[in-house]
């Protein structure tokens, strides 16, 4: 009978213990799972361990992201809190438990250490090259027993839970399983808290990134405006160096800025100022510059008015052509050119008066030549420096006509006359020979335009 009673007693004792264990797990778990604050979780774990197991000296260390060491997160029962103290993975009881991810119980540390000291002493007398420095680890200075438990989440080590005692007592093996369960619970809660903390920080960083972007955007608009204004100002400056049509074509994208030429029907106009070279000797540079600027400005205005493409100025000489980049048709282009030339002469007459009043010693007279024919037009030059101009026999002929012209007269070719004869009154002049043209060219001098009715 008493045997049975003993058995019953033993079983009910076991049952009591098991229920107590479940109770402990419930209580500690609920404490650590109701908060996402990492420090509160750690504290709750350590306090719970003291309350239920009498662990008076314990600490929790978390593995750092570098995977090289652990840092003390919270302690219980130590004078010096030691928060933040580091333990290298692989060193000491805690370090080895972290490395091996296995529970370790160490009893009689004092004797073990003194044994090692003795060996170290012996070794150092013979060959101490292999010895490393002795390590001071956080914990009780005169600890005698220690249990370190890895805190695992699945297969990952989150940290180590360490319990120390000054007494040479043994930790009950039956408590080991329970403590391990609690340690892992704590690991899970701590990891959640850590992730939460990380999320909070990420959110903060994200918000800052957003506001930085918004600031950048508004600034960007401003910057774009500023840049655009700069570019407009620059292109305006550049436009002075191109004939408006060419400039227009380039900027509109119609004209491609590559070496590209084509053969076209053009009416070509050449002019220069007779007596100009003499003046350059006699006038002050400033006076000369003013004079030439005035002249070219007025002539340019007229050229643009009639739709001519101002090819270039060479000092006082001008080259204008009609028919590229825009054309009104062969005939209309030629008529426009001739009309331009006549107006230019009229304007020059006015300018002569102005200059005379100003005291310019010599009268300036223009010679003009016009020819209509096929020329090669487009971008000429090297890859780095382009000139939008015309070349060909037709150009040479126009140039010869100009140099053969009388002062303040316009000399045109047969080809031009054919196109404009209904709009001008002209006089037949001599034939001229032009390099590259085998036959003589008949020239005509324009007297005036036929008045439109």
């Amino acid at each position: 009978m008493s045997d049975l009673q003993n058995e019953i007693d033993a079983i009910s004792k076991l049952l009591d213990r098991k229920s107590k264990e479940v109770e402990i797990i419930k209580q500690i778990s609920s404490q650590i799972n109701k908060t996402l604050d990492i420090n509160l979780i750690a504290k709750a774990t350590l306090l719970g361990m003291d309350e239920f197991f009498g662990f008076k000296h314990s600490m929790i260390l978390l593995k750092n992201e570098n995977n090289d060491d652990l840092s003390v997160l919270a302690t219980h029962g130590y004078d010096d809190q030691g928060i933040g103290a580091k333990v290298k993975i692989g060193v000491g009881v805690i370090g080895i438990v972290a490395k091996r991810k296995k529970l370790m119980r160490m009893a009689n540390l004092g004797m073990q250490r003194s044994y090692m000291q003795a060996v170290r002493q012996e070794i150092s007398q013979t060959d101490n090259t292999k010895l490393q420095d002795e390590i001071e680890l956080p914990g009780l200075p005169d600890v005698e027993s220690q249990v370190a438990i890895p805190m695992m989440l699945e297969d990952e080590l989150v940290g180590v839970f360490s319990v120390e005692s000054k007494e040479l007592n043994i930790f009950d093996k039956s408590d080991e399983l329970l403590i391990s369960i609690l340690a892992n619970q704590s690991a899970s809660a701590l990891q959640n808290a850590r992730l939460f903390e990380l999320e909070q920080k990420r959110l903060k960083d994200l918000n800052k990134a957003h506001s930085d972007l918004a600031y950048l955007n508004t600034n960007l608009e401003k910057k774009v405006e500023e840049r655009t204004a700069e570019l407009v100002s620059l292109s305006e400056k550049l436009s002075k160096y191109f004939s408006p049509q060419v400039y227009e074509s380039i900027f509109s994208g119609k004209l491609d800025v590559t070496i590209q030429t084509k053969r076209k029907q053009l009416t070509v106009f050449f002019s220069d100022l007779q007596g100009f070279t003499e003046l350059t000797e006699r006038l002050e540079p400033e006076v000369l510059t003013q004079l030439i600027t005035e002249y070219l400005t007025e002539m340019s205005k007229i050229a643009i008015k009639w739709g001519g493409t101002i090819d270039k100025f060479i000092g006082d000489a001008m080259l204008v052509f009609f028919g590229d980049p825009n054309s009104l048709g062969e005939k209309k282009d030629a008529i426009a050119c001739v009309s331009m030339a006549v107006e230019m002469l009229e304007k020059l007459a006015d300018l002569r008066e102005v200059w005379k009043d100003r005291g310019v010693p010599k009268s300036l007279n223009a010679r003009m030549g016009i020819h209509s024919g096929t020329c090669t037009v487009g971008n000429f030059g090297s890859e780095d420096r382009l000139d939008y101009t015309i070349i060909g026999r037709g150009v040479n002929l126009a140039s010869r006509l100009e140099s053969s012209s009388k002062p303040n007269r316009i000399l045109i070719s047969e080809d031009t006359r054919t196109l404009v004869k209904d709009h001008i009154i002209s006089q037949k002049k001599e034939e001229i020979y032009v390099k590259g043209i085998s036959y003589p060219v008949q020239t005509y001098e324009i007297s005036s335009l036929i008045k439109e009715t």
Binding site: G90, V91, G92, V93, G95, I96, V97, R100, K102, M104, R105, M106, A107, N108, L109, M111, Q112, R113, Y115, M116, Q117, V119, R120, I123, K130, L131, Q132, D133, E134, I135, L137, L168, I170, K173
Partner: protein, 130 residues
Amino acid sequence: MINEEHTPAMQGMFPSTITTCSKDGEPNTSVISQVWYVDENHVALSNQFFNKTKKNVSENPYAFATITNPQTFDMYEMELMFDHTEVEGDLFDEMEMKLEAIASMSGMSGIFKLIGSDVYKVKSINKLNL
């Protein structure tokens, strides 16, 4: 054979005495830090440096060891027979961990290496009447 009465004596709290005998019948008495519990019929000794004990049992397997329970101060004598050496596995890991932990604290990592865990069969275990 080994039960909870004995296991506290196998924590390494107090050192143990061990005597072995060479094949010529020469006894060798020595002291070791711990007799490790393997199961109710086996114990293990850690083998770090080559020593006379290991040499003896490899030619003559009989050994005699004394362990002390640090709670009760009871002493037990065990008749042992050397069985085999393990160089990997749970037992080896457990022994190695402990060795590594202490060695690393004393700046002697790499100097103390566990060569093997020597496993002995327990033939008898008796409490001394002190």
